[in-house]
Assembly symmetry: D2
Homo-oligomer: 155 residues x 4
């Protein structure tokens, strides 16, 4: 039952991202899977797809909390698509389920998830994202993942 105790890390970010941001997201996905944590994300494209691709390439479990009614909208690296049909309401579920959140870049949707994460008292790590009191800024992909695990273990 060791699986039960796996940590769950949310990576949040925009559905359309430039190549540099996607590379960072993919690297973060790889690092999360290598530390044997479950990745949770919004299941769509951009940062969500890149991070799932990275985690999947290392054999990690990837969970996509979809805004749509239909699982088919999940990117191809999502192993467990959860179809909520709740639109933006699914952002709440991502924040609630995560032990820590890592925000990369991002638009208003990402900001809502940052706000929920902080409100719920979860560690929120940021990599060139919104500046919000309470976010812990990371220096790079490795530092972001390191900080996330460190803060979970301190809770």
């Amino acid at each position: 039952m060791g699986l039960r105790l796996k940590r769950i890390i949310a990576v949040i970010g925009p559905g359309i991202a430039d190549e540099a941001t996607e590379k960072e997201a993919e690297e973060i996905g790889r690092l999360i899977a290598r530390r044997d944590a479950i990745l949770i994300c919004g299941g769509l494209g951009g940062v969500m797809e890149a991070v799932a691709k990275g985690a999947h390439s290392e054999g990690g479990i990837t969970v996509g909390i979809m805004p749509q009614n239909d699982k088919k909208s999940a990117n191809p690296f999502i192993i467990i698509p959860v179809a909520t049909g709740f639109g933006e309401g699914r952002n709440v579920i991502i924040a609630r389920t995560a032990d820590a959140l890592i925000a990369i870049g991002g638009e208003y949707g990402t900001l809502s998830e940052i706000a929920f994460g902080l409100k719920m008292g979860k560690p929120v790590i940021g990599l060139h994202t919104w500046e919000v009191r309470g976010i812990l800024e990371a220096k790079g992909t490795g530092d972001a993942v390191e900080k996330a695990f460190q803060m979970i273990d301190e809770l």
Copy 2:
């Protein structure tokens, strides 16, 4: 059927607020009701109670979208309590239902509502609240309400 066309203004802000903020919220509530719009808010205390008190004192309709299962948690100035049982998930519903949002002060919950409002393309007016790109800053209570109605009419 003229009622159908009433505008719906969300006022968002913290559940615990200082006296000055509550006075502003109450004044905003009065101004919204005088312009014959429906007030929607989170239904609890602080800014939510003050704004509902103001709107109610002018005979306005006040809708409270409650996080709890139970309508009884609504403040006494909410005429129509909607019990969602969805916790923070109710923030999405407030943003979706509003034609415009006015943010007064506020913590992370308010920030999530600001983010949703902006993501949904709604006018978001701010009165000493979070600084987020896209928010229209108001100079005072009258200016906040004026701007909200102006922006709805321009949409």
Copy 3:
């Protein structure tokens, strides 16, 4: 603040209904408004539109909990459209907010609302609808509304 104490009655039923069923729904809407209760429903067509039409014709407050993102999908007799964007998830909110539910006819969506109402311990009155243990069958429109108010007052 007397408004605060208004009872809220949900009327649930299919989005497409025959003329006889719609006439019953309209009559039920009128009776609810005459007893000064707030009507809550799913806000769309069929039974939802007919019951809102009846309540509206008597000056009643009609609340539509919409599955869509957009208030514009509400029928023309809904005074307060609440746009959830939660699809079928909105059925939970209707059951939670109501003090009693009246089911008229209905398909699977109505069945889910009956189930939620009964699970939440609310009185559920049925008029030629699903046969489910716990539903109180009504003999007609007047009896349905009478039973709903009676059971609320006994709670």
Copy 4:
């Protein structure tokens, strides 16, 4: 990426169940995992715990869609707890995410899930549960699982 194509089976039933029902649920969990499908359930006790126990004992992936804010309320056989905080609203997510639903016994909560499954056009298999038009009755645990996979493949 073969994992992506895994079928997802929901097993729905009461949080408190007698021993015979729990044995059936456990057997159904084993059979689902042996056929390499993902199990989704409500994550709590009774039928939900028994079915997760069965699936887990065969190395299957078990997803629990929790009504609470907190993952810790998941039973010990849930590998991936999704904390929704949406109360009964989580029933919608279970039905949406599943390719087919198997109902065992059950109270009103189960009835709501049956109703959602049928409304969404999903196969719903029943084992001594509610009698609802559209449910396919199974003769036993093996037949229930066989029917679920058969109907998914026919869709």
